[in-house]
């Protein structure tokens, strides 16, 4: 694709009525048709809702500002796009989660090492929990 968000950004946002028709045609040809959806479910999986709510709660607590958040999220989306993510919106909350992990580390709220330790602990907790039973983290899951 020969245009990125950087070049789009530089367009005058009030210039909507005066778009170069050749550029417009090229852009339209370069991207597949836009995915549509009904006004359907808001979150496709519970973890998406959890990740969304965590960002709101952390912002409300003053851990970061919305411009800071938008900046990190935009970087994650751009990076995923560059790495071949189709970026159709389906993977949006994965970018959101990446941004969340990065911003909590950058703000000193939770470092990558601690998060990795708790991921292993949750995996261990899941493994010892009978299927269909709520998974609960126990102190022993955190021991090495």
């Amino acid at each position: 694709m020969d245009f990125g968000s950087r070049s789009l950004r530089s367009l005058d946002r009030n210039d909507g009525g005066k778009i170069d028709p050749i550029l417009a045609r090229r852009a339209a040809d370069a991207v597949p048709s836009i995915p549509r959806d009904a006004e359907g479910p808001i979150f496709r999986e519970p973890w998406e809702a959890q990740a969304f709510a965590m960002a709101l709660a952390l912002h409300a607590r003053g851990l970061f500002t919305w411009p800071e958040w938008a900046d990190v999220l935009a970087q994650e989306i751009k990076r995923a796009h560059a790495a071949g993510d189709p970026d159709t919106g389906e993977t949006y909350y994965l970018h959101w989660l990446n941004a969340l992990e990065r911003i909590v580390a950058a703000k000193g709220a939770a470092d990558a090492q601690t998060l990795a330790r708790y991921r292993h602990a949750w995996a261990r907790a899941a493994e010892r929990t009978a299927h269909g039973t709520p998974i609960v983290l126990e102190p022993e899951d955190l021991t090495d």
């Binding site: 210039d15 959806d37 990740a51 709510a53 919305w66 989306i77 970026d87 159709t88 899941a126 998974i135």
Partner: protein, 206 residues
């Protein structure tokens, strides 16, 4: 307990679920978040906050000229006056559609969106094709959504940021004279407030 054997398999969480649980546990233990508050946020966005909030705002603007002026003058203030708490704390700007100009909203960098009045953004709003094409070829995008405007109608694209988000105030459909706000609100779709759609025709709402 005929299923006893199955229990030995234990449970499984996907890598993504593990990451989310780890974040939530660590941040809770450190006192950054409260799981009960997270549930309230999710509940609010799943039930209370959605396009119907924005639809009420639009219907009121159609119905009440003074409110319309206030909304176009300062969107955040007007919406707050209706009792909607702004969680995002940003500046909401309402942009009015007229026969001469149609407005369409995009966020080219990520997906800034007026959550407080529209709920969460639809999948296509977050997609790269929409983000790039809405700016380069808004008329083509509108055609994809089944919206055809007269060639004389200018299309203005508004690029949202974390600080400023936009709500399109669509044109009130003709044939709705004397309608109540509640009835008018039923005509207002989410897409009409993003600018990728038009209000429903009055005959669709009995």
């Amino acid at each position: 307990m005929a299923q006893h054997d199955h229990d030995e398999h234990g449970s499984e969480l996907s890598e993504t679920q593990l990451r989310v649980r780890a974040l939530e546990t660590v941040l809770t233990e450190k006192g950054y978040i409260d799981p009960a508050a997270l549930d309230l946020i999710i509940q609010a966005y799943e039930t209370k906050i959605g396009p119907h909030t924005g639809a009420r705002v639009v219907a009121k603007a159609w119905h009440d000229p003074a409110f319309k002026r206030a909304l176009l003058d300062d969107g955040s203030k007007a919406v707050r006056a209706l009792g909607h708490e702004s969680r995002v704390g940003d500046h909401l700007v309402a942009v009015e559609n007229t026969p001469a100009r149609h407005n369409i909203v995009v966020c080219t960098l990520c997906s800034c969106y007026p959550w407080d009045v529209l709920g969460l953004p639809p999948v296509w709003y977050k997609s790269a094709p929409y983000r790039s094409r809405a700016v380069k070829d808004p008329r083509g995008v509108l055609a994809d959504f089944g919206v055809k405007l007269p060639a004389s109608t200018e299309i203005r694209v508004w690029d949202s940021t974390a600080e400023t988000r936009f709500l399109v105030l669509p044109m009130r459909p003709s044939g709705t004279e004397g309608w109540s706000e509640e009835r008018l609100a039923q005509l207002v779709t989410r897409d009409a407030m993003i600018g990728t759609g038009l209000p429903k025709p009055p005959e669709e709402v009995a």
